[in-house]
Amino acid sequence: MSYHVPKAEGEIDPTFSGRATGGYPLWEVFIRAKRGLNHVHAGSIHAPDAETAVLAARDVYTRRSEGVSIWVVPSAQIHASDPDEADAFFDSDKPYRHPTFYEIPEEVGHM
């Protein structure tokens, strides 16, 4: 459980292949904690197929009643925005979209 192992003779850093070589494909796991809430990303799991992935996700991510429903999605099917382009991609310069941009006289009361 500790990880503070100083480097010993013969130890190497892994090569960064950037892909899962060998082993089962990877799935992203989404869990609905209880009725009324969205499925939320919980982590990922290796499994040979979707059915086994759901079973493995149950064992790995819901050992303590953390969920009432599980989705699994092949990790390769996730398309993401580019973090390096986040500033340009996400709108953050329109303060007038927020309610606090507008000053309402106190006597008007809560609005």
Binding site: M1, Y3, I12, T15, A20, G22, D59, W71, T100
Partner: protein, 345 residues
């Protein structure tokens, strides 16, 4: 969630290095697809992999007692705990994989002896009291580390730690409760508890790693927000919280130099035998060979199961493609199954 509206002009563009360091400086997390220095990436992979390997190998000393647990409840608890360790290993491998390395590669590196796991698991579990001491001391030390790591700068690692810490609390409490039961028992049971404490105390202190004066990676790890406290600080905190727990059990910590220092506000303790620590890391601990042999045997003997599962998945996928049906799909928030005739054979 909304951001605070502001009319301040956008900050001037930063280089990737500047952005990385400013995120860390602001206490923000680094996420998988962010630019990061290669040394940060490799340090993170190495640390998370070692941590994952430790969880997986850590199943062995406790698994050793599942068939001999003294009661059915203790047995059920131990099975749940060992299953947790497997789960912790999987959360951590997942976190490592976000850095561009596969679990398969890491497993092969462990098997080839080219990556390490915590030396604590190279000590044997000789009596039932060892199961108590592992929960109380080994998991206690792990919690001390992992609470700090739940604030580490790499997002996926920090999130894995939050989840693990919640579960470790059960581990530590069940271990301490085993010790409590033993010290309330017969003279022989009290002696067994003391003997286990004698054997696990020093290896537990060693879990925090070499002293700061001899830990070359610490300053860099601190600058990158990987480590927020040093090995010696964490070790001292563990000792300070654990000594009163030992006193409550009426057990004696096997360190004649251990005493409260009013001036420092901490316990002073005797010197740690680092030669023994290095001997165990280099492969000559009591159980190094046994642990790796068992791990390799489990891996090799399970190979046909992995191959069969993949062959089965490929066969079903091919059949589904031929029939133009999807086996499982998400519909209105629930996973449903399309049972085809072929599935029911």
């Amino acid at each position: 969630m909304t951001t605070t509206p502001s009319l301040t002009p956008p900050a001037p563009p930063q280089s990737p290095e500047e952005r990385f360091q400013s995120l860390i400086g602001a206490g923000e997390k680094i996420e998988p697809r962010d630019w990061m220095p290669e040394a940060y990436r490799s340090t993170m992979i190495r640390q998370i992999a070692q941590h994952a390997h430790s969880e997986v190998i850590g199943q062995q000393p406790e698994g050793n007692w599942i068939t001999r647990a003294p009661t059915l409840v203790r047995k059920a608890i131990l099975i749940a705990k060992v299953q947790d360790e497997a789960g912790h290993g999987l959360y951590l491998y997942s976190a490592a994989e976000t850095l561009g390395v596969s679990r398969h590669e890491l497993t092969e590196l462990l098997h080839a002896g080219r990556q390490k796991y915590s030396s604590i698991f190279n000590y044997p579990t000789l009596t039932w009291a060892d199961i108590g001491c592992i929960g109380w001391l080994v998991d206690g030390a792990a919690i001390t580390n992992q609470v700090m790591l739940s604030r580490t700068s790499y997002g996926p690692y920090a999130r894995a730690m939050v989840k693990i810490c919640k579960e470790e609390s059960f581990h530590q409490r069940q271990g301490y409760e085993i010790m409590l039961s033993l010290v309330k028992g017969t003279e022989a049971q009290r002696a067994m508890a003391q003997d286990a404490l004698n054997r696990w105390w020093w290896p537990s202190l060693v879990m925090f790693g070499p002293p700061d004066t001899d830990s070359p990676h610490t300053p860099e790890s601190v600058a990158w927000g990987i480590k927020l406290e040093t090995n010696d600080e964490l070790r001292q905190r563990f000792i300070d919280t654990t000594v009163p727990q030992a006193d409550h059990l009426g057990l004696t910590i096997p360190d004649p130099e251990l005493r409260w220092n009013d001036e420092r506000g901490h316990y002073d303790f005797g010197p740690i035998d680092w030669d023994d620590f290095w001997r165990v890391i280099k492969g000559d601990g009591p159980c190094n060979r046994e642990r790796m042999a068992h791990k390799l045997a489990a891996w090799n003997e399970g190979a046909w199961v992995r191959e069969a599962a993949q062959a089965h998945a490929a066969k079903r996928a091919a059949r589904a493609a031929a029939e133009g049906t999807e086996h499982r799909r998400v519909h209105e928030g629930d996973v449903t199954t399309d049972e085809t005739a072929g599935d029911q054979q």
